[in-house]
Symmetry: C2
Subunit: 140 residues, 2 copies
DNA sequence: GTCAAAATGGAGCCTTGGCTACATCTCTAA
DNA sequence: TTAGAGATGTAGCCAAGGCTCCATTTTGAC
């Protein structure tokens, strides 16, 4: 093999770990976009309820989103996405659909596909996404 | 729909979050089993190198493994798995292979399949695993 | 057999992502 | 128009999972 096993493996685990840290932000951005589209506004309490966490936790994470340049929010005035946030939401939404569609195509029940996709989607690389697209096109 | 959207969604996110907390333990158990099988022993330093973390981090997590009843370790004497740990390692290994095989079957390049599986495997439910098996059998 | 290198373990620090409890603001219904 | 409900924000706590730095133990080379 080209590289020592341990280096290959370490880099894989490292990637998985860093994916974990962005997973939460992706979930928030996706949900905020959804709330803005369907409810017209994204309030911390709604975000908290949808994610199943306390409102305090939601507010704290929203401030992380702001720090990351993904969202804007003024006190007592709801949350909005920046351009960067919108772009991320779009990518995340597309990826989510693709993952669910592939799972469905493989024969995973709808409910399991939706639930598992919530975790899986954060670990699907670009190369894998492309393979997913090809796979779906191939059986369309 | 049977349940309010927000409850369904909250439970999905909740599941994904709790999967995250077990993911690390699963990785450790899988790796320790691998080291025991291939090297005859699992030393904290090797674990750390393979995972790409500091040895101190590895040691701390091994003590979590002990607390969880998955591993045993005496000072300066390497790490071993309990029966419960062995069983978990076996399940994790099987699942890992299944995920990689499905990704490969779909057309994901080997390297991406191995790398992405490292993250994906922790979020694949029992129902999805079964669908994966059926899918592979169906095209064998 | 000794001593230096390597492995191991521990202490203490940071960030993240949870929580509860409390304080403050907004808004709506009477 | 004003009280009370509900939403929002703040503070302080916890555990997990990283890290570095330091002390100790083991081990291997001479």
């Amino acid at each position: 093999m080209a590289l020592p096993t341990e280096l290959i493996q370490a880099s894989r685990f490292g990637k998985a770990r860093s994916a974990q840290s962005t997973a939460l932000l992706e979930d928030y951005v996706e949900l905020i976009a959804d709330l803005l589209a369907n409810e017209g506004e994204a309030r911390p309490t709604d975000i908290a309820r949808r994610l199943g966490v306390s409102h305090a936790t939601a507010i704290k994470t929203v401030s992380r989103l702001k720090r990351a340049g993904l969202a804007t929010a003024r006190p007592y005035r709801g949350v909005f996405l920046t351009e960067k946030g919108e772009a991320l939401a779009q990518r995340v939404r597309t990826r989510h659909r693709l993952v669910v569609d592939v799972l469905r195509a493989i024969g995973v029940p709808l409910e399991s596909a939706e639930a598992d996709a919530e975790g899986i989607e954060h670990y699907v690389s670009e190369a894998t996404l492309q393979a997913f697209s090809r796979f779906l096109r191939g059986r369309a």
